[in-house]
Symmetry: C2
Subunit: 210 residues, 2 copies
């Protein structure tokens, strides 16, 4: 959401896309819509739920897989990999960009994603942008301003832009408030702490993951 | 559909995917399902209709754009380009392939598609397969056995495999039978003629496009 505020602040005309791929944390969609309303930008929710059901084995889309507690680490959090998720979302965004004559597509990938998710790494970004030149015969840029930034650096940028962090969502569980203990909650808590910025998030627990 | 019969004939274990992207010619989906039942292979229809609405300006998805009559040619048929369509469909197929541990993804692109559709060209296929290696960290092959074949050569292959051509669909119009006059109908008619194979298709008209 910090990405949207940053691009809006830079004066770009935006079309915000969010994706329902059957994730447990569909609550993030409501916050995306609220963000678009706040900034007065076009918003569309892309329904990919028929795909989510087929992307088996991920804790994010498969109700039978548990979301791991604790820090991101390959052995515990690899269950949260939704295969090819960014590829699919970016391909859709590029199709719409061609339709609308957009100059660029942007995605908020950050450095913390690199270890676990291959479709968040710089070499993927480069390969994808090149592939789209052949697919569309156009030179639509792929903007990844946070690619080499940490979550705490992004929190700092967001704070300076006035992002209402209480209206953002990270938790991979489907609860009413952030669980506070899954990998993405732990990283969210640490990001605010490292940035020295007050965290307005309501967490079900702020203890250590068991 | 000839592709599915060919791969089945080669002994591959198949998962057939068809895509509803809001195309006028949704009739092709029913024939895809029938093909899967005939061969006894897994079948899934992917609902991308929420995307189709956003891919504006294509005669295939936008009810306000007319489907051009006559031969494929850049000036008349460019309205049938759905931007990034193959990229989106292949990205979905690769996600499912990773989930299921598949060795390959196949698509029935043929040489007649190259002029008009950039995401049907050999350089796209190569760039896409490379990109997916970075996106998935796996070496899933992209099979395009018809890439350099003409429609009449594909008809010949299909005839030898016993493909029931009366249960296949090409027409871009949404009628009850093939219109016989749109670009893809003209090419279908010519393909059978060139191959010297009886065409079982019912056409509304077999005249020259006016």
């Amino acid at each position: 959401m910090t990405l949207v505020h940053e691009l809006d602040n830079e004066g770009h005309s935006l079309h915000l896309l969010s994706f329902d791929y059957g994730q447990r944390h569909a609550r993030e969609l409501a916050y995306a819509r609220k963000c678009a309303e706040r900034l007065g930008v076009t918003y569309d929710e892309i329904d990919l739920s028929s795909i989510g059901k087929l992307l088996k084995g991920s804790a994010l889309t498969d109700g039978t897989v548990l979301v791991a507690k604790g820090h991101y680490a390959y052995d515990t959090m690899s269950a949260t990999v939704v295969p090819n998720r960014n590829t699919i979302m970016l391909a859709v965004a590029y199709g719409i960009a061609v339709s609308e004559g957009s100059a660029a597509v942007a995605i908020g990938i950050h450095s913390g994603d690199h270890l676990l998710y291959p479709d968040c790494r710089p070499e993927f970004i480069e390969a994808f942008e090149q592939m789209e030149k052949t697919a569309t015969e156009q030179d639509i840029q792929l903007l990844v301003p946070f690619l080499h930034l940490s979550k705490s650096e992004i929190v700092t940028i967001g704070e300076n832009l006035g992002v209402p962090f209480q209206d953002t969502w990270s938790c991979y569980e489907g609860g009413d408030v952030h669980c506070g203990l899954c990998g993405t909650c732990i990283e969210r808590r640490e990001a605010f702490e490292l940035a020295g910025i007050r965290d307005p998030t309501v967490y079900a627990s702020t203890g250590e993951p068991g």
